[in-house]
């Protein structure tokens, strides 16, 4: 083996070993790397009340209600499998809309209602002008933002 | 432009400052190194 060959294999081998190590570490830590849990995961995990975490999903269409003074918003977050009731006091981000993604940070109350302290809007990967979106909706070709 | 124009404009400004700064500093370094080479009598080889 020429020295060049040897160095080539050494470099390729080291990168492969490091890649495997990184994969193992990231797989082991994947529960901590996720930014939020879905309602289904929350149901599986039995998270104790008052523990802070983030929950993400879609704002269920038609579920948003506001208190008369407009300060308190109640809505449901769904992953189409399970649904969690959320209550939030404060200003909502612009992109907070029914049917759109949302990430809420807060904790579950003993009544099973998620009390959110912070709401982040999640937008999907579709970009188009308003006329196109309208035309798609009118012709019934609208696909849901999420699979 | 909408109410968020300030974010859009700052984003383009940030890009201009960083990328423009890179270009200006690259040109300045090139000229400085060339001057130092010339001062040592080492003209650039074509």
């Amino acid at each position: 083996m020429t020295p060049k060959r040897k160095r080539l294999w050494l470099v390729l081998g080291s990168v492969a070993v490091l890649g495997c190590a990184a994969t193992l570490v990231l797989t082991a830590l994947s529960d901590n790397i996720v930014f939020f849990y879905s309602p289904t995961q929350i149901a599986e995990k039995q998270i104790p009340p008052e523990r802070r975490f983030r929950m993400g999903g879609l704002v269920e269409a038609g579920s948003v209600t506001k208190s008369p003074d407009g300060q308190v918003t109640r809505f449901k977050v769904t992953d189409t499998n399970k649904t969690v009731d959320v209550v939030y006091r404060g200003l909502l981000p612009d992109l907070f809309r029914e049917g759109q993604g949302v990430v809420a940070e807060g904790s579950l109350g003993s009544d099973g209602v998620f009390a959110a302290r912070e709401i982040l809007a999640k937008h999907d990967e579709n970009y188009m002008p308003p006329e196109v979106a309208k035309a798609l909706k009118d012709s019934g070709q609208w696909k849901d933002g999420k699979k | 432009m909408s109410a968020h124009a300030v974010y859009v404009m700052s984003a383009y400004l940030v890009a201009l400052v960083i990328l423009g700064g890179l270009l200006v500093s690259s040109l300045a370094t090139r000229n400085r190194v060339r001057r130092e080479l010339a001062a040592r009598g080492l003209e650039r080889k074509k």
């Binding site: 470099v11 790397i33 999640k122 970009y127 | -």
Partner: protein
């Protein structure tokens, strides 16, 4: 003899870069003018995000170039460590700050996009965190390559860092698929084709091509300078 070998490739590189740099600069300026018109005036607002979507036209190409730049560093690192290519170390020194610059643009414009759309400048989700890590890898590369008295040792240490850090690239790309993130999934490079309407996709690709030219321009220009600088250092050593 060794000195001649060192100059062989750099000399050819220099002839090449001097021939292309003027037309490259001209093309970049021209494309940037058209690109900015498309990005800021001609393209339509997004149905959800309105005009804020225009940040995408600098944010996304910067992210691509920051990642491509690191892939370049890794390739140059391998070519230095394995084949001892004389130009690789100089080009790596020249391109690391360029990649870091594009990475900074990506992070900052992302923050300015996140605040109005998500409601936060920054969150520690997997995509944003791995992109920040990329920026620190760039800084580490720049620092390592300058950390030794003999530049060759710095070049090799930085090359090793570039190869180690290349593992971060697939993590950045697939972070949005592997873990729940606040950042949305891929829109352009994805199975099933882009999910961006052509009226927004074309300005995006145009700006990507423009910034790519700027990236190449900066790397060629700075590599040229690094060749001169190395000659200067060699002359000082001999003096």
């Amino acid at each position: 003899m060794a000195d001649l070998h060192f100059l062989a490739n750099p000399a050819r590189f220099r002839r090449f870069s001097q021939r292309v740099l003027p037309s490259l600069a001209f093309a970049t300026v021209l494309m940037l003018a058209v690109g900015l018109y498309m990005a800021l005036i001609q393209s339509p607002p997004d149905y959800q995000q309105g005009d804020t979507v225009r940040i995408m036209f600098v944010h996304v190409p910067s992210a691509w170039l920051a990642m491509a730049g690191y892939a370049l560093l890794a390739g140059l690192g391998a070519s230095l460590l394995i084949w001892r290519h004389p130009l690789a170390a100089l080009m790596a020194r020249a391109s690391a700050p360029v990649g870091a610059g594009f990475c900074a643009v990506c992070l900052l414009t992302g923050a300015l996009w996140g605040r109005p759309m998500w409601g936060a400048y920054w969150v520690w989700d997997a995509r944003l965190t791995s992109m920040l890590l990329l920026f620190f890898l760039y800084l580490g590369h720049i620092a390592l390559s300058r950390a030794y008295d003999e530049p060759e040792r710095g070049d090799r240490a930085a090359a090793i860092l570039a190869l180690v850090g290349v593992i971060n690239l697939p993590i950045i790309k697939f972070s949005v698929d592997w873990w729940n993130t606040l950042h949305q999934p891929a829109s352009v490079a994805r199975l099933g084709g882009p999910s961006i309407h052509p009226s927004i996709l074309i300005p995006l690709l145009w700006m990507a091509a423009t910034l790519f030219l700027l990236f190449v321009l900066l790397v060629l220009l700075r590599t040229d300078t690094e060749i001169d600088r190395r000659r200067l250092e060699n002359a000082e050593l001999q003096a």
